[in-house]
């Protein structure tokens, strides 16, 4: 479970304020965020952040780290439905709907801001721009889900992998966690298989082939896109991801 460790990031000094791909909060929005934020929570790599089927008293904004959103079938099959990056909002279903309809698991150590569910109402009333931002983020995620559905329904395994890599890099770039051309992310080929909906063996083979033809390299936790144009040739450019993006 979450440890109560709090680094005490002050909303006015939040790193996202200074990042070029994020919409800056206004002074009155920052003032509101100070009361909206009720604490921080830290999760170790591999831990469940949110469980499918449960309700939560808070909404969470990711300060640092990566996570996966997934759904499981009764017989244990798992589908990763999306990846979570710094700046993303998670847990809305657990407070707006009846319960969480997917789980969220920490891929790396994750630090979250806890936002009061009760204050979410006040936010929509007092600062409708922030309410709009929540819908913006939902619309963006909806677009990414649409792309994953398009991939799963219409693309070959190699095309799905190529698309996934582009999405991960683009989202990492926006979140400010891409170092040069390198994405350091503890994602495995098993995660890839569970995202694209192919067996691990087939996924391994396709990844090996894409590596061999010089599209990207993958050693340990480090992914590097070596030939962006080749990657784009395979799937076309990413059109679903937009900036400047909001954050809470």
């Amino acid at each position: 479970m979450a440890s109560p460790a709090v680094t005490g990031v002050k909303c006015g000094e939040c790193k996202f304020q200074a990042m070029k791909c994020f919409r800056k909060l206004t002074p009155s929005e920052i003032a509101f965020m100070r009361s909206f934020k009720v604490g921080e929570a830290q999760f170790k790599r591999g831990k469940d952040i949110l469980r499918e089927g449960e309700k939560y008293p808070e909404i969470y904004s990711v300060l640092s780290g990566f996570a996966i959103k997934y759904k499981t079938l009764e017989d244990g099959r798992r589908q990763i439905v999306n990846y979570v990056f710094p700046g993303d909002l998670i847990g809305l279903q657990g407070s707006l709907l009846d319960k969480m309809h997917h789980g969220v698991e920490a891929l790396s150590d994750v630090l979250l801001c806890k936002l009061s569910k009760k204050k979410f109402w006040d936010m929509n009333r007092e600062l409708p721009e922030l309410g709009y931002d929540v819908s913006w983020l939902a619309a963006q995620e909806n677009a990414i889900l649409a792309e994953f559905l398009l991939s799963a329904g219409q693309r070959s395994a190699s095309e799905r992998i190529a698309y996934l890599i582009q999405v991960l890099f683009e989202r990492a770039r926006i979140a400010g966690v891409l170092k040069g051309k390198t994405l350091t992310m503890p994602v495995t080929q098993e995660h890839f298989a569970d995202t694209i909906g192919f067996s691990l063996v087939h996924t391994n083979k396709c990844i090996a082939r894409l590596k061999r033809i010089g599209v990207f390299s993958w050693k340990g936790n480090e992914l590097v896109i070596q030939d962006p144009s080749k990657l784009q040739d395979i799937t076309g450019p990413i059109t679903a991801i937009h900036t400047p993006r909001p954050f809470l």
């Binding site: 079938l73 979410f120 792309e147 219409q154």
Partner: protein, 216 residues
């Protein structure tokens, strides 16, 4: 809300309600009829992303991100309540609870897409077909479109194939097999549920339908 809508829009079956990459001057709430959201690849392959029924909201991407990232096509004649984009934003500021409702609608839609992604990624062809038909049966039922276990499904097997991501031939074969085993009948545009429990058993769960869904 009364002041915000300028009127009702009518779209004929087969017409495009919103186009991918385009902005939209309106947000629509469907009053009657069926529509579908689609994304098409350069090579022409089409993926049906979801179906939209009365109460569903069209154009949230245009309202927030500024452009549509998918198309919306009318499957039947669709009447919709047209809210000018400007007024929609105004409503967000003025109408208490609207932002909350829109957020809930967005989460519902994401939850449905998650389930369709689970289908495409993990389920067999039979499981996918049973899932989507169960889902549509329940969702349409919520809009009062099911009578005596019968539902007018306003699309053919090609649309079903593009939803589950399987070739038309394979979809047809599996559909025949499922029909023969007495789960449902589907002739022309008429769908009749015959053994819902068996369908649920094949899928392994009930599709997520939220009865308390808000509408705008």
């Amino acid at each position: 809300m009364q002041n915000a809508k300028t009127g009702e829009a009518v779209f004929e079956a087969g017409s495009t309600i919103m186009e991918e990459d385009a902005a939209s001057p309106f947000v629509f709430t469907i009053l009657s009829g069926w529509a579908m959201r689609t994304r098409t690849l350069e090579n022409g392959c089409r993926q049906v992303l979801n179906f939209m029924l009365p109460g569903d909201l069209i154009g949230l991407q245009a309202a927030t991100i500024g452009q549509m990232l998918h198309s919306v096509e009318a499957l039947t004649q669709v009447t919709a309540c047209a809210i000018p984009m400007q007024n929609f934003w105004q409503l967000f500021r003025e109408q208490e609870g609207l932002a909350q409702d829109v957020a809930a609608i967005s989460e519902l839609e994401k939850a449905t897409m998650d389930e369709l992604l689970v289908s495409s990624g993990q389920r067999s062809v039979s499981e996918r077909i049973c899932f989507i038909l169960l889902y549509l049966f329940e969702r349409a039922g919520l809009s009062g479109l099911v009578e005596d276990d019968e539902l007018h499904l306003p699309f053919g097997q090609d649309v079903l194939a593009d939803t589950i991501g399987i070739s038309l031939v394979h979809t047809n074969k599996t559909l025949s097999k499922l029909r023969r085993s007495g789960l449902f009948s589907w002739t022309g545009r008429s769908f009749r549920m015959r053994n819902k429990a068996a369908m649920e058993q094949i899928v392994g769960q009930r599709p997520f339908i939220y009865a308390g869904r808000p509408f705008v």
